[in-house]
Symmetry: C2
Subunit: 327 residues, 2 copies
């Protein structure tokens, strides 16, 4: 049973998810070679997971039934076995203190298994595999966004133990929540006070500059001037577009190209690097979708927690030089 | 040369501190037994560090001179060899992009070596050692707060490699910065909209409750209802008091008792646990000082970075039961 709790006096939330402490500990190594027969995400082990909510196979979208599981799939979406939130939860107001406020633990937590093979890595995905993954991202966000009570769908990938991945089989995650996250509220409030879209301006200003890593027809990939962590990368559409739901297949294909390229460059520059990537998007037409890739090379410690200010030991300009060194 | 950079359009900052990438890598283990003759923080190795800015010895406050170092000290404050910010920096506006803003890399970064012995731990500090540490905290914050251009002094302790400590000899740190951190701005804006102090109310409401860990005459130690991480602990003065500078020695002594007790309980419940603790305080009389202890048991990953919402697998109520189990 999870519970979403509001801060004493700030518009911030945390999720108390006691069920998640039962998760198995993370694997010890992330080796391309290691193929575990016990991995529940591997092709053939479908019955070790909850029934899939969506199975992408040969151009079709299917769904597991209780009696059996679909085999030979391309991408498989399953409910997280240790969900942070759950659609069944309805535990009402738990706290009797007037300064505190308890929200329901309502929500959805889904795992997107990006491919059937344990050793697969998105940097080796073909164009069509990458496009399919982007389509799944779009589909699943749209699917959960349309549920009553869902205010935001967080779509992200944790890669590597240091980035919080508890299983090594390549996967993304999606958590649909009944509150608007403070990160998005803060951005939207600031954006609405401007007479222009700051992301449109970032895309224009950074184009061709020392922080630009790559550009294609629809996107710019850059190391942001404001980089919280070493080798942070942002992918920003050149066109003002608020969310994945407005992406056509052509744009999805270009986006997939950017993500694969970013991950490939990072892995070449710092082999085995753990990273998180996150989609920032909203239904509000003032928002401008962006994807942020945050490699894990350091620890946010006391100073960062105290001030919200990150100390980054590698400037984005230096990171770009390193990333593009051997290209 | 460090540089404080403002976010493209939010009132947030990061510090680009390229010099810090030269830091030696963190030690491999945190063993009570291990005594390294090479540790620059150990008594006898004073000449391996920059000259101390303040040396506390037998009730006196001294200062190293270039020709020699003070020996047999109780607590020693030195400039960080790999500072995030530096008083000498004055590199002006580095960026030519109109959407970005560069601040000076001005500031101070100090290490407070809490004792001469490599194996010392604050949970074994005597009352007078603990009181001295609190006095040093108060002195050093006051000292830097009075410098021109300093807007905030962040005082914190990282304990254990997983909490970002790059050296194992017990120490705290202080970073004085020329901007008001977004964490404090956000809190102060919210507090000023209320007709009461939320921390005064927290201290009242949590007193004697299921989240209360300990109380003495001046402080309450609690697991906050809004706990971002498992076993998070807050220490809140019962009296409305904005910063350490207003603490008399009696209050410092009670505060030291709380911090030592918190660290002792955490270490008993989860031996070897890494943690960060941070002082939240301000000169604004509306603020109410509080100390937050954040143990490191999990990783803030994609979801947390995307939403600012932390998933905590142990409720504060459960954590308190565990912490008080054997007391």
């Amino acid at each position: 049973m999870s519970e979403i709790r509001k801060h004493y006096f700030l518009d911030e939330h945390c999720i108390i998810a006691s069920g998640r402490s039962k998760r198995p500990s993370a694997p010890k190594a992330y080796s391309d070679e290691q193929v575990s027969s016990k991995c529940a995400f591997c092709s053939g082990n479908e019955d070790q997971t909850p029934a899939a909510t969506a199975v992408y196979k040969g151009g079709m979208i299917l769904r597991d039934i209780d009696e059996g599981r679909i085999k030979d799939w391309d991408i498989r979406c399953i409910p997280n076995l240790y969900p942070a939130l759950s659609p069944q939860t309805d535990n009402g107001m738990l706290s009797k203190k007037p300064t505190t406020k308890t929200l329901k633990g309502y929500g959805f937590h889904e795992v997107i298994i990006e491919g059937p093979d344990h050793g697969s890595r998105i940097q080796r995905f073909t164009d069509s595999e990458m496009l399919l993954l982007m389509k799944v991202y779009r589909d699943r966000v749209l699917h959960y966004r349309s549920h009553d009570g869902v205010e935001y769908v967080s779509l992200f990938k944790n890669w590597g133990k240091k980035a919080g991945a508890s299983l090594e089989h390549t996967h993304s995650q999606l958590i649909a929540i009944p509150v608007m996250p403070s990160t998005m509220v803060k951005e939207l409030v600031s954006i609405k006070q401007l007479d222009h879209c700051p992301y449109c301006r970032i895309a224009q200003n950074e184009s061709g500059g020392e922080r630009c890593i790559y550009e294609n027809d629809h996107f710019i990939m850059l190391a942001p001037y404001f980089s919280r962590v070493p080798y942070e990368i942002w992918i920003v559409p050149k066109q003002h577009i608020e969310s994945l739901s407005s992406f056509n297949d052509d744009m999805l294909s270009y986006l997939g190209d950017c993500i694969r390229r970013a991950v490939t460059l990072l892995d070449k520059a710092i082999p085995g690097l753990a990273y998180n990537y996150m989609f920032f998007q909203d239904q509000d037409p003032d928002y401008h979708l962006n994807v942020r890739i945050a490699p894990v090379t350091s620890i946010a410690a006391g100073f960062e927690m105290n001030t919200g200010i990150y100390i980054n030991s590698t400037s984005p300009e230096t990171a770009v030089k390193h990333l593009l060194e051997n290209t």
